[in-house]
Each structure stands twice: as structure tokens, then as C-alpha cells.
Symmetry: C2
């Protein structure tokens, strides 16, 4: 995990019903051409979306506006991405991968405290927030793209602690205690949540897990 193909080599929404895996390999066959220019266009469009979302009232984020900002013809944007929602989901996904290294401090508590702080800091960025909001607003389940990577990171830290022999909560439980408050406050309130608060979240999860042996329970949901 967290080692997916780099941002410049992936094709966003290829309408051709081919197997994605074969495209990522070196011998991609005579089809698909994610070469220099396509990658450049892709990067430019993604950056344009982020920039426009940052300093624009959103909602006036249209395909032509994105194309103009990216220095690309609108037709290109229309053809490569089926809809604005797809584009937003792609931007969200590519932005939230490889942007945050999973900490490895040696203890679960240390890892979680560090990771929660990093995520909280990231959620302070207006750009990040704008992308999440826009992706959530779009129909094409762009919301999942925002957190799938974060869930993977969380799972990695829990797995590592489990390998150390510690009792760990489920990923769902950890997401409820850590990710949920982080994202909830960032999206719905004006309190970004400071470092102390974030640390308390991590501590409460670890402490609760230490006192009660709920980790072995099958867990609801």
C-alpha cells in the first residue's frame, strides 16, 4: 500500500473496457499511451482544479474554466474525464496518495499521535478542504477517494502493532475515534482542532484499547 504507481503514469478514467493492471506494466502492449504529453496535461488539469477550488467560490468550477487555467483546450478535458465529478474524484484520489508518510515511531501510541497530527495539519489547508468538499458534493462517490488512502495508512499502523504482539482495535473502531472527529470538525465546524486535541484522540483510542479487551471481539458493523 501507499506504493501505487506515481501520479504521472496513471490514466484517469479510460473509457475503454480494458484491464487496468495490464496498462500499468512496462509491456503495456500496443494500446494506451500515458506518455509525456498526456501526463503533462493530466498534471496541469489536476493542478488547475486545485488552484481554482482554492481561490474561487467553487460551484463556478466548470470544465472550460479548468481547461483555460490548465492551458489546455476544453475539448481535451471533456474527452478525458467523463464528468466534473469524475475529475474531482480523480484529483482527490491522486492528491491523497503519497502525500503523507506513515510514521514508524516504534509504538502504536507514538505512531497514532504523529499520524493524527499530520492529518489534522493537512485538513487545515484550505485547498485540501475545498477538494474534499467538492468531491463529496459530486455524485460519483468521490467521497471514498478522499479517505481510502487514510484508512489504509491507519490499517498499516494497526497491523504493525499487532505484529509486535499488542492488542489493537479494528480499523473501523480506529476510524470512528480518530478520522471521524478530524474530518467532522474540518468539514462542519470552524474549529480545526489543535495538536493537543488530536493527541487526546489518539490517547483515548490506545487507552481504551488497553483497559478493555475489546480488540478480540468481532466488533459490530
Amino acid at each position: 500500500m501507499a506504493t501505487r504507481a506515481a501520479d504521472t503514469t496513471r490514466s484517469d478514467a479510460d473509457p475503454r473496457p480494458e484491464t487496468d493492471t495490464t496498462l500499468r506494466t512496462a509491456h503495456a502492449g500496443p494500446r494506451a499511451r500515458p506518455g509525456g504529453r498526456s501526463a503533462r496535461v493530466r498534471t496541469a488539469v489536476h493542478r488547475a482544479v486545485i488552484e481554482l477550488l482554492a481561490d474561487a467560490p467553487a460551484e463556478q468550477l466548470t470544465m472550460p474554466a479548468i481547461a483555460a487555467r490548465a492551458g489546455v483546450h476544453p475539448t481535451t478535458v471533456y474527452r478525458r474525464w467523463a464528468s466534473l465529478g469524475d475529475l474531482l474524484a480523480a484529483v482527490a484520489e491522486s492528491r491523497f496518495t503519497d502525500d503523507l508518510v506513515v510514521p514508524d515511531t516504534g509504538s502504536l501510541r507514538g505512531d497514532l499521535r504523529r499520524w493524527v497530527t499530520d492529518v489534522a495539519t493537512d485538513l487545515t489547508d484550505p485547498e485540501t478542504l475545498a477538494i474534499i468538499r467538492a468531491a463529496l458534493g459530486s455524485s460519483t462517490g468521490g467521497g471514498c477517494a478522499c479517505i481510502v488512502e487514510r484508512r489504509t495508512q491507519l490499517g498499516a499502523m494497526l497491523d504493525r502493532e499487532r505484529d509486535r504482539g499488542g492488542v489493537v482495535p479494528t480499523v473501523d473502531r480506529a476510524a470512528d475515534v480518530l478520522m471521524a472527529p478530524l474530518y467532522f470538525r474540518a468539514l462542519f465546524t470552524d474549529q480545526p482542532g489543535d495538536a493537543d486535541w488530536a493527541h487526546d484522540l489518539a490517547d483515548s483510542l490506545v487507552d481504551h484499547c488497553a483497559t478493555t479487551a475489546v480488540a478480540t471481539r468481532p466488533s459490530s458493523a
Copy 2:
């Protein structure tokens, strides 16, 4: 709280810089006319927004479409609501008021368990989810409108318990433990969360508050 003017008598976004409170009283003066027709139009437009959000891919929610669905002329919608974001925020706010009675079972645990279940059930409704998503996506901080009423309800239950002499957490803490997971799962995942899971949330808050005397701490953030 929860006793604001009924849905049919409020004016959404009156551009006139008057004091809102005077408008709600009976002797509203010679200005403002939230009478029968205006209220009818308002209700129709709100319903149209909800209906369109329910069975449309969203994002193709435009002012003319809303007007057509509401049986109202587009000009009316343009004039009464400054932007689509304002309209969405207004719809969100009016929908999340008076739609859920604050339970009063006699104990904080019972109140919270009941309330959490109700909120979880509400978040199962696709219409509700669509409104929240759309309001979040709009620029004009429509996100706050979705939860401000819920926060008030939560605070009311906590205040009642405090009057009973019990130790209660802060509203922020309760929101982190209860509301955050509810909304996070509803927005970002496909697991709506069942009744048992919701009850566990309420229990964890009450139990944690009972074991440790953190309630008297000034609490961060």
C-alpha cells in the same frame, strides 16, 4: 432551541438589512410580506430541491430545473435566493429543524442512545444524505446549517443531565464521540452503522465520562 418559527413563516435570504427578529413578530410593520403565496413558493422550491437531489445525479441541479420542478418561474428562484449555495443552505437548515424531537427518557444514557439511533436512522435516508453532500459542496458554508440544530439538541440533553446533578462531557467532546462517527460513516463510507453500533457510541461516551472525571476539565479547543 428547537422552537424557532415554523417553516412556512421564515424568509430565507432577505437582502434587506433589517433586524430579523422584528420580522417574526405579529406587528411586522408595513414591510416584508411572508404571506400565503411566498410561503407556498418557498415550500415548493424547497421540496423541489430535495426531490431533484434524491433521484438526480446531482450536479445537474440548476436553478431552472428547480423552478420547473417547483412549478415556479425561474426568475422567482433567481431573485429570492442569491445563489444555488444559499438555496441549498436554506433547504438544509429548514429541513434539520423540527424534524427530530429531543428524547427525554430520564437518564443521559437513555437519551443519548435514543437520539443517536434517531440520527443514524435519519442519515440512512438518501434524501438527507444528498442534501448534506450538496450543502457541504456549496461554498456558502452550508455545512454548518446541517449540524447546528443537532448540536443544540445534544447540548440540551447534556444540560438536562447536568441539572440532574450528573457529570457530563462538553458538547464538543460529545460531538466528537457521537456526531462525528455518525456523519463520517454516512458521508465517506458505505456502512450506515446499525443500531448496536450507535448504542455503543453512546455507551462509550457515558462510560468514559463516568470512570474519569474529565468533565470538570476546561477541555481543549
